[in-house]
């Protein structure tokens, strides 16, 4: 995607964001996935850990939130492209003058925003039910980390979307990608508990740096060096994802036109 053209596509991103939100809110499956399911996960996690100190509770809440964020990106954003193919709108999008990454950016932004906001609300509700403190120790650093995390997740969604355009069969990878990222991302427990050889894989995942930043800010461990490293890595990966997705989209869209996979198979 050409970054210099982003302002010109701003209106398309905004409307794509709005339309995706409207469609998500009228889909019972998505409502369940982003509101009901995270509440169930959080209830279970907090019930198991209710004897722990409050600070650990917020660690669990943030970690559970990250699992929901990752799953929603993986399934809702991934299925958005497959869904477009099934309802016959993918051809209309591809044949429009707007570059596909711009359209997908708006959709991913909506999915990430929606899952993040609804999860925060549901975890707050669950924490209130358990009478737990959900006080974030460094709210400003937490808020900035959320923005960087959104950027990292939304741009990673561009890579996934391009792969989903190329072939619906790629969807089979979805389930296989869900739990490894939970574990390698250190969402619910530190990666130091994993075998040493897995650490480099964690470092290659933007969600790991997002979880690390959010957890540090929530428990008050957000030093300047720590946050600069986490934000810098998220920014670095976001730029890598944007650059990679640009070439990937050009490749997969041409391949889809050759293989005739834009329409329903």
């Amino acid at each position: 995607m050409n970054l210099s053209k982003l302002p010109a596509h701003w209106r398309t991103i905004r409307i794509s964001f709005e339309m995706q939100l409207r469609q998500n809110f009228s889909d019972p499956f998505i409502i369940f996935a982003i509101i009901v399911q995270p509440m169930i996960i959080a209830t279970l996690a907090l019930w198991m850990l209710q004897d722990q100190v409050d600070q650990f509770a917020i660690f669990v809440i943030v970690g559970s939130g990250m699992t929901g964020l990752w799953s929603s990106l993986l399934f809702i954003s991934g299925n958005a492209i497959t869904g477009e193919r099934w309802v016959g709108t993918l051809e209309g999008l591809v044949a429009s003058p707007t570059p596909m990454p711009v359209i997908v950016l708006g959709k991913n932004l909506a999915n990430v925003f929606q899952s993040l906001s609804s999860m925060l609300a549901s975890y707050a509700l669950v924490a209130l039910l358990f009478g737990l403190s959900i006080e974030i120790q460094q709210p400003l650093l937490f808020a900035v980390s959320i923005l960087f995390a959104m950027l990292a997740f939304v741009t990673f969604g561009l890579i996934m979307a391009s792969l989903f355009i190329i072939n619906p069969a790629v969807q089979n990878w979805q389930n296989g990608l869900e739990f490894p990222v939970y574990i390698l991302g250190g969402f619910l427990f530190p990666i130091a508990l994993l075998p040493g050889w897995t650490t480099p894989f964690s470092y290659l995942l933007a969600p790991y740096w997002a979880a690390r930043a959010l957890q540090a800010a929530s428990v008050g461990a957000g030093t300047f060096e720590e946050m600069a490293l986490n934000w810098g890595m998220m920014l670095f990966f976001s730029i890598i994802y944007i650059i990679t997705s640009r070439s990937l989209f050009l490749f997969v869209l041409r391949k889809a036109r050759v293989d005739a996979t834009l329409g329903m198979q």
Binding site: A8, R11, T12, I15, S16, M19, R22, Q23, S26, D27, V87, G88, T89, E91, G92, L93, V94, A95, S96, P97, T98, I103, R254, R257, V258, A260, L262, G263, M264
Partner: protein
């Protein structure tokens, strides 16, 4: 310069069959197609199911890359200059798909207006205009999922016109519509013709092509078998008359027997509720009726009439009775 220029276009689809011993099978959807459409012309691509109409349109709308040959839209190559073509064309593919059912008609149009970079102040005027044009002005705020098939088809037309394109590709726009809906949609196409849009219309409804198109290309098995004005195409069968026979229970054997008669040029069958109508093209006109009746012994026969040939008869002759 022609609005649409197609030269020796070919598209082959490759599929893999077999689970353990994988075999690659090639299907030629479009074999060798060439034609051109002038600015402001309404050009028809007429052919049976599977003839290659939709594949041709998908190549011209930049959604499929041809296996060989070339096509230019407004002078731009469909493969290498797709970005120049896309803002200038609008297209619809027949059927209900291609719309966001959980959004209203207005939201669908707003979304596509933004994708085509239509300025908000322009789309604010154009959306009500288009909804009025396709007869959906009073239903625009309703979700598309509650629309009838005809309403969705009309919304498709509005969507394809949101950016006021010069060139339109209408792939079987009236398929599956009831007669009233189809008539309304044909009127919309006529109005677009009056606006001097270049239109490529694909259909397998002969009367529709005859009524709307200035020129028609008949496509069969991926090749163009005839191309001319409807009047000239009809002349292909001026030497023939058509005997129509209402029957109840036409067998394949009977059709084979009819085709083997030396005075029969072609035979086609049309289903009409409980009965079939056998259409026999012959140079002998009504004189052939007594001979035909001897072949119908033991079959319940209804009304028998003789008539002048139509574009449909020319089509049947060209594609070999597969209508």
């Amino acid at each position: 310069m022609n609005a649409i220029e197609v030269n020796n276009l070919r598209r082959v689809f490759t599929t893999n069959i077999g689970r353990f011993k994988r075999e690659t099978k090639e299907v030629v959807a479009v074999d060798d197609v060439s034609f051109s459409v002038a600015d402001g012309e309404l050009f028809g691509l007429l052919g049976p199911n599977g003839a290659g109409k939709t594949t041709t349109v998908k190549m011209l709308t930049t959604l499929l890359i041809p296996s060989s040959g070339s096509a230019h839209i407004a002078g731009n190559d469909v493969v290498d200059e797709a970005d120049q073509i896309r803002p200038r064309i609008g297209f619809i593919f027949g059927g209900e798909r291609g719309l966001y059912w959980r959004l209203s008609a207005i939201d669908n149009l707003r979304y596509f207006a933004s994708l085509y970079h239509v300025e908000p102040e322009v789309s604010a005027k154009r959306i009500p205009y288009l909804l009025e044009m396709v007869g959906l002005a009073d239903r625009g705020k309703e979700k598309v999922e509650g629309y009838s098939r005809g309403m969705k088809q009309r919304l498709h037309i509005a969507r394809s016109l949101i950016h006021d394109p010069d060139i339109l590709f209408l792939d079987e726009p009236t398929i599956g519509l009831d007669p009233v809906g189809a008539r309304g949609l044909r009127q919309v196409v006529r109005n677009l013709q009056d606006e001097k849009k270049t239109i490529l219309l694909t259909t397998h409804y002969m009367f529709e092509a005859d009524m709307l198109c200035q020129r028609i290309a008949v496509i069969d098995k991926g090749n163009i078998v005839a191309m001319d004005t409807p009047e000239e195409l009809k002349k292909l069968v001026l030497d023939l008359s058509v005997i129509e026979v209402e029957m109840f229970g036409v067998s394949d054997d009977l059709i084979s027997t009819l085709r083997s008669q030396n005075y029969v040029d072609n035979v086609s069958v049309e289903n009409r509720e409980q009965r079939q109508v056998l259409m026999v093209q012959t140079e002998r006109g009504s004189e052939a009726i007594p001979d035909l009746m001897t072949l119908f012994e033991g079959i319940r026969v209804g009304k028998v009439t003789s008539r002048e040939p139509t574009l449909e008869d020319a089509y049947v002759r060209l594609v070999g009775g597969e209508a």
